[in-house]
C-alpha cells in the first residue's frame, strides 16, 4: 500500500458494491484484452528514506563546489530565505490555474503584482502573467510581431543569445518566415550591418541588452529607424541590469521579453525558469499567455481575474494567439517576492554591486599577461576576454582548480575559440576574484610552457 492512497480494502468493497461491479478489473472493460500492455517493466517501489538517500548520492555526483564565473544569461545570485519560505506554502504551490477567482485571489493578486513589477522594471505599459522561459518568450514575441504587422521577415542582432537564436529557428522552419542575422561582433550592436537589413517587409528587429557578450547598449537609434519603416522592436533583457541601465521602454521598444531566473530562482540545471513579456497597451490583445486584470466584485470590492481570455486556446482553440496553457505562475510569484524584498533601493544597490565587482574583475584580469579584456563597450556583470589559446582548454584546466571560469565562445561561434565570457555577480568576493585571477595566470603560464616545450 502506498502512503498516498486512502481507501482501505473494506471501503473499496463498499464502493464496488455501490458501483455494481465485482472487482476493480471490471472497471477497465473498455480496454480490450489485446490492448493491454505488452510489458510494464518498472522497478519495485521504495520507501521515502531510500529514495531520498539515492537522490542525495546522485546529487553528490554533480560538481557543487565550483566557484562560478559562468553566466551566459543564467546567473548565480543570492536568494533571500524569505523567498523560498513563502513559495513553499502549499496554498500557493498546490493550487492550479485560477479558473475560480473567488478561491484564487491569492494567486491572482500576486500575478497582478508580478505584471506591475515587470512593467516597472522595463518601463512598459502592460505585461503578461509569464511564459515558459526567456528563449521561448522571445519566440512568442517574434510570432506576435508577425501577427501585428502582417509581415514575415525577422532581423536578429548578432548579440542575441545563440541559444535563443537556435530556438527561434527550430520553431519557424516550417512557417514561411524569413530570418536574417547581423554578423557577430563581441561589442555593441553593429549598426552598419543591421540598419541596411531593415525594410518595409520586416516585421521585427530583435535586440538584446546587455547582449550575449555582456555589452550594454542604447538601442534608441536602431529602434527609431525601425519605427520609420513600421518595424516593431523586440528587446530581450536581463532583469538585474535594469536596476541601473536604460530600460527598453525608455529606448522605445515595442515588445520586451526576458529570462527571469535571476529574480530569485535557483539555477536548477536549466529549469524551471521564468519567461516574461511586456508590451504597449495597444498590442495587449495580440499578446500570448495569461493576463490578470483588476476589477470589482458584485459588491464593488476590488478583485482580480484572468482577463482577455478570448485570446487563449481554452476559449479560442485554433484561433488563439498561442497554444500556451500552463505557464510558470509559481516562478512569477517567486520573482515578485524577490523584487518586493529587494525593494526600490535594494534593487538598485544590487545592480551597482554587480557592476562594481565586475569592474574589479576586469581590472584584475587585464593585468594577466596574454589576457585581453574587451573594453570596446560598457558592460554590466559579464564581459568578454580574449586568451592566447583555446578558451575551452583554459576552462577545463580551471575546473581542476575549483573554478567554473567562464563560457568559451567557440562552442557557438566558430572562429571565436580563443574568446570567453566571464560573469561576476554580487556573490563573488574580492578574495575569490583574486584567487581566480591567480589560478588563471598559472594555467596560462603552464600552457605557455607546454606549448614552447612542444614546439622546441
Amino acid at each position: 500500500m502506498i502512503p498516498y492512497i486512502a481507501n482501505t480494502n473494506k471501503e473499496v468493497q463498499e464502493m464496488l458494491k455501490i458501483i455494481g461491479v465485482n472487482s476493480i478489473d471490471d472497471l477497465f472493460v473498455d480496454i480490450k484484452p489485446h490492448q493491454r500492455p505488452k510489458s510494464f517493466n518498472l522497478p519495485e517501489g521504495k520507501s521515502e528514506l531510500e529514495v531520498v538517500s539515492h537522490l542525495k548520492q546522485l546529487a553528490a555526483k554533480n560538481a557543487t563546489n565550483l566557484i562560478p564565473f559562468i553566466g551566459g544569461g543564467y546567473y548565480d545570485h543570492y536568494i533571500p530565505a524569505a523567498v523560498s519560505a513563502l513559495v513553499s506554502r502549499g496554498e500557493f504551490y498546490t493550487a492550479y490555474t485560477p479558473y475560480q477567482p473567488e478561491c484564487a485571489q491569492g494567486t491572482l493578486q500576486a500575478l497582478y503584482e508580478f505584471q506591475s513589477s515587470i512593467c516597472a522594471l522595463t518601463s512598459m505599459e502592460v505585461a503578461n502573467a509569464s511564459l515558459y522561459d526567456g528563449g521561448t518568450a522571445l519566440y512568442e514575441a517574434a510570432m506576435m510581431a508577425i501577427r501585428i504587422t502582417g509581415r514575415r521577415k525577422i532581423i536578429m542582432d548578432g548579440g542575441v543569445s545563440p541559444i535563443y537564436r537556435k530556438i527561434l529557428k527550430s520553431y519557424t522552419i516550417n512557417l514561411n518566415i524569413e530570418f536574417h542575422e547581423s554578423p557577430v561582433i563581441h561589442g555593441q550592436s553593429d549598426r552598419k550591418s543591421i540598419l541596411p537589413l531593415l525594410d518595409k517587409d520586416t516585421a521585427a528587429v530583435i535586440l538584446q541588452n546587455p547582449n550575449f557578450f555582456g555589452a550594454i547598449d542604447d538601442h534608441s537609434d536602431i529602434i527609431e529607424k525601425a519605427h520609420e519603416l513600421g518595424i516593431l522592436a523586440i528587446e530581450s533583457v536581463y532583469p538585474i541590469s535594469l536596476g541601473l541601465i536604460k530600460t527598453p521602454g525608455e529606448m522605445g521598444a515595442d515588445i520586451v521579453t526576458g529570462e527571469g531566473q535571476s529574480l530569485g530562482l535557483p539555477l536548477n540545471f536549466g529549469g524551471p525558469y521564468l519567461g516574461f513579456m511586456a508590451t504597449r497597451k495597444e498590442y495587449i490583445r495580440k499578446m500570448p499567455g495569461r493576463i490578470v486584470g483588476e476589477t470589482v466584485d458584485m459588491h464593488g470590492r476590488r478583485c482580480f481575474v484572468n482577463t482577455l481570455q478570448a485570446r487563449e486556446q481554452h476559449i479560442r482553440r485554433e484561433k488563439a494567439t498561442s497554444n500556451i496553457c500552463t505557464n510558470v505562475s509559481l516562478c512569477a510569484l517567486q520573482s515578485v517576492i524577490f523584487m518586493s524584498l529587494l525593494g526600490k533601493e535594494g534593487f538598485k544597490e544590487l545592480a551597482q554591486l554587480n557592476l562594481d565587482k565586475t569592474e574589479f574583475a576586469k581590472q584584475t584580469l587585464s593585468k594577466i599577461k596574454g589576457v585581453e579584456v574587451k573594453r570596446s563597450s560598457p558592460t554590466f556583470n559579464e564581459f568578454t576576454i580574449h586568451l592566447p589559446i583555446d578558451a575551452s582548454i583554459v576552462v577545463e584546466a580551471m575546473l581542476k582548480k575549483g573554478f567554473a571560469a567562464g563560457f568559451p565562445l567557440g562552442r557557438y561561434y566558430p572562429g571565436m575559440e580563443n574568446y570567453m565570457i566571464v560573469a561576476v555577480t554580487e556573490k563573488r568576493t574580492k578574495e575569490e576574484i583574486i584567487n581566480y585571477s591567480r589560478e588563471l595566470e598559472e594555467v596560462l603560464n603552464n600552457e605557455r610552457v607546454m606549448v614552447s616545450t612542444r614546439s622546441s
Binding site: 555526483k61 502549499g90 485571489q105 527550430s170 536604460k246 539555477l267 486556446q313 510558470v328 567554473a404
Partner: protein, 485 residues
Amino acid sequence: MGLIFEKSVSGRRGYLNPKSDVGVKGEIASKYKRGKDCPFPEQTELDVVRHYTALSQKNFSVDTNFYPLGSCTMKYNPKFTESVAQIPGFAQLHPLLPQLKNGEELTQGALHVLYEMEQFCCAITGLDAFTMQPLAGAHGELTGVMMMAAYHKAKGNKKKYIIVPDAAHGTNPATAIIAGYEIISIPTTKDGVMDLKILKEKITDEVAGMMLTCPDTHGIFNSDVDKISEMIHAVDGLMYYDGANLNAILGRCRPGDIGFDVMHINTHKTFTTPHGGGGPGAGPVGVNKKLMPYLPISRVIKKANGTFALNYDYPNSIGYIASFYGNFALLLRAYAYLLLLGKEGLIETTNHAVLNANYVRQRLKERYTIAYDRICMHEAVFSANKQAERGVHALDIAKYLIDQGMHPPTVYFPLTVKESIMVEPTETEAKATIDDFIKAMFAADDLSQTNPEIFHDLPKTTPITRPDEVRAARDLNTNFFGKLS
C-alpha cells in the same frame, strides 16, 4: 487587501545587500542609465512575509481543500518530492556546465536522473524514446507536432491537416495551427466517442495525423482506438497521444502498444509535480522508432563505460525547442515519485483513480444527468441541465461548492456537453471526502428546487464574490503603475 505597492513606506528595507569589498566603483555613462529608479515597494521582510502569507490564505489548494478539477488531475503532491528538489547538488547546478569541455563529468548525477526518467517513461508508455525538454504539456504538443511535420517533410509527403475530435483540449487545435497545419474537427457520437463514420469520410492523403486524448475528455476509453490508428496510418498519418489523461491507464494500457506514434506526459498531472497556481509544468515527449531521428537536441546517452553524456549529433533533429534539458527540478520530483511508487504503486494509482471516479459517477447520476451512462475511467462528466431549467447553472453549483470548502469541478468543459460538470477525484482522495462532496452536490440540487434564487450571490464565505469580468476586459487595468500614469 491592498497591493504590496500601496503598502510601501519610504525608507523601509526588506533585504540588506552586502557592502562592496572590492574598493572599485563601476561607472556607466549616463546615456546608458535608466532615468528613474525602479519603483519597487519599500517594505520590511516581515511586511513582505505577512503580505504574501495573507495572499496565500485566499487560495484553495490541494493541501487545504478537495480539488476535483476534471482534466487537471489535482492529486496530492508528496512533500518529499519538494525536499529532494531543494538538494543543493541539483538546485545550484548551472545548465551550461555540461557544455564545457569534459563538463559532462560535472553533472553525472543530473544526467543520470534524465536518462533514467527516459527509461521509466518508455516503460510506462510503450514508446521507444523520450525527450525531457518540453516545458509544459502544450509545449510537448508543439514539439510532437513539429516532429510529425519533420517526418512528413523527410518522406516528401504533402500534408495539410491534423484531425482533432471536438471534445479535445483547446491546446490541440491551437498547437496544430501554430505548427503550420489546418484543423479537421470530428464530432462526438451519442455514446461519447469520436464518430468513426464521419472520420472515415474526412480522411484523405493530405491528413498528417490525429491528436487524440485517450481516455478522452468525457472520461471514456475508446475501444476502437486501434481501428482509428489503422485508418490514420493507412494514409501515412501519425497518431499523437495527448497524455492529459494518462493517470487513467497506468499499467493497464500503453499508448505505444495501441498504435500511437508520439505523445506527451503532463508530469504535473500523472506524476504529481505541483501545479504551482498555473505552472511550471513539464511535458516530456515520447516517440516510436518512426519519429526517433527527429527528437530535439540535446539527448542524454549512456556511454559504454557507464557514464552519461549529452549528444547533439542528430542531423535530422528538429533542433532546439527549449534552452536546456527541460524543467529539471520538476523532472527530478517526478523521478522521485516514480521511484517511490514503483510498478505496483503506479498500477494502484490508476486503480483507485478509476474506482473513485466511478463511485462519483454512480452516486451523482441519481441527481445530475450523466453525460454518457457507461463505466468511466478517471473522471466523470455530468450535465446540470435539469438544475439549469430551474435557473441554477453549472457555474452557480460551482460557487455553492466553494462555500462548502471544496474547489469546484471543471465546468463548461468539455464543450460537447451542455452545462457540463467534470469531476476528477484522483486516487489520493478518500471515500469519506468524496461522500462529503456528493452530499454537497445533493444539497445544491435540493436548493435548486426549493430556493434557486439564493445561488446568485454565492459564494458568501470568500473574500470576494462574482467578479465583474466584463468590466475587467473593458476597463483594462493590468498594471498598477500604468493606472497611475
